[in-house]
Symmetry: C2
DNA sequence: TTATAACAGGGTGTTTTTCCCCTTTTTTAA
DNA sequence: TTAAAAAAGGGGAAAAACACCCTGTTATAA
């Protein structure tokens, strides 16, 4: 039985080491090395001659997050199988991650046997989805077929909305008339089913369009 | 050399198992069992006859969080040494945790050797603080001696501020005149160095007075 | 080529928020 | 017990936010 190599990427070193220890306890797998963020991973992979079989990737990371990293990684090295590992169970994040090329998505509150199974399936079938994640994806497909789609300019506007600027100041920043800003706001009120700025702020934070602190 | 027993408490099972695996790899320590939240820990400890030496406690947990759990645990079983383990580096959280009776506070982005050292020191000296955490505590003592202190009623108000209610509606909910609400708001504007409702919302979220999603 | 959708902006009026200065009542501490 | 704070409330005005309805330009896709 051959040993498959795993690379763990997580900004919290202790967790990366802990997960690595767990992976090493599975007899088919062993950790090659650890990385603290996406950039470090890309650099490291570029400098090594032998590619790992699997990358166990955290989603929320500074510098270069899991989604961006996965996008670049799967484009450059399609043979590497990325298994996302996150505490986030929001469908949007999961979808983004899978779209980026991840071959599976594991929530951090599964049993270690699931992780082992996931790694094995990844080597055998090339992908692995838990029932959990599949359910979330199903709900997202059936539940809300007309998903809210924000335009680039609206997202940019939404970021300013979450600051202490008045709409007039936002208009200046965006090189638009205050009246146009009025329009953006009203359009978002409708799309996001709210009726005041607070609602926009809450939405933006909930959907990670802006990040607090 | 005797073996010290450790209990790991973390709502993310996989992480609990991973950390447990790490702890077991240290030759002086071994994991007794794992718990998914504070309540489970208290129940389990009450039902077992032999107490663990150390509890490795996550801070953010559902059902019963690390702070509350530690409070109860140290009151009931002063001999158990609690080592907090968290991603949060906010001084307020750290202080709360130490006040609750934790004997140490480790950030999840330390090296595993630090965890091992922490566990050892905990057994030898009864406490362990990293330079990291000490620095944060020092800064909090020197840096801001006049810490912002919100009153209960202000906190209650702040929660409503983070909703889509108008101040008039908030006044009704709080059984106060809109004019009094005016006063609450203005007081907070001064305390929190802001000049509009958005600023209050941002503050409330940043300081976990309200939780989004 | 012609809808039609996205984008930018205007007018007008109402409501809400913000600001400042003031009074009364209740609590707290010296 | 008395002075001082804190809590509750008020008036009025200016600024900001919200609502509704409307006019042009670009694209661009049927």
């Amino acid at each position: 039985m051959k040993n498959s190599s795993v690379v763990v990427v997580d900004d919290h070193i202790l967790l990366a080491q802990a997960i690595s220890s767990l992976v090493n306890s599975f007899n088919q797998f062993s950790t090659k090395y650890l990385c603290c963020n996406g950039q470090e991973l890309l650099d490291r992979i570029a400098s090594e001659k032998i590619l790992p079989d699997i990358v166990l990737m955290d989603v929320n990371m500074p510098i270069l997050n899991g989604i961006e990293t996965t996008k670049q990684l799967t484009k450059l090295y399609p043979s590497i199988k990325v298994l996302a590992l996150s505490v986030e169970d929001e469908e949007e994040t999961i979808i983004k991650m899978l779209k980026a090329g991840a071959k599976g998505y594991l929530l951090k509150d599964v049993q270690k046997t699931i992780l082992e199974k996931g790694l094995q399936e990844l080597m055998n079938c090339g992908f692995y989805y838990t029932k959990d994640v599949s359910t979330i994806l199903m709900n997202s497909l059936n539940g809300n077929p007309n998903k809210i789609q924000l335009k680039d300019r609206e997202i940019e506007f939404l970021k300013f909305v979450c600051s202490e600027m008045t709409y007039k100041q936002i208009a200046e920043k965006m090189f638009l008339s205050p009246k146009t800003i009025d329009g953006y706001r009203d359009a978002l009120f409708e799309k996001l089913h709210t009726k005041n700025r607070i609602g926009l702020v809450i939405y933006a934070i909930k959907h990670k369009i802006v990040t607090i602190s």
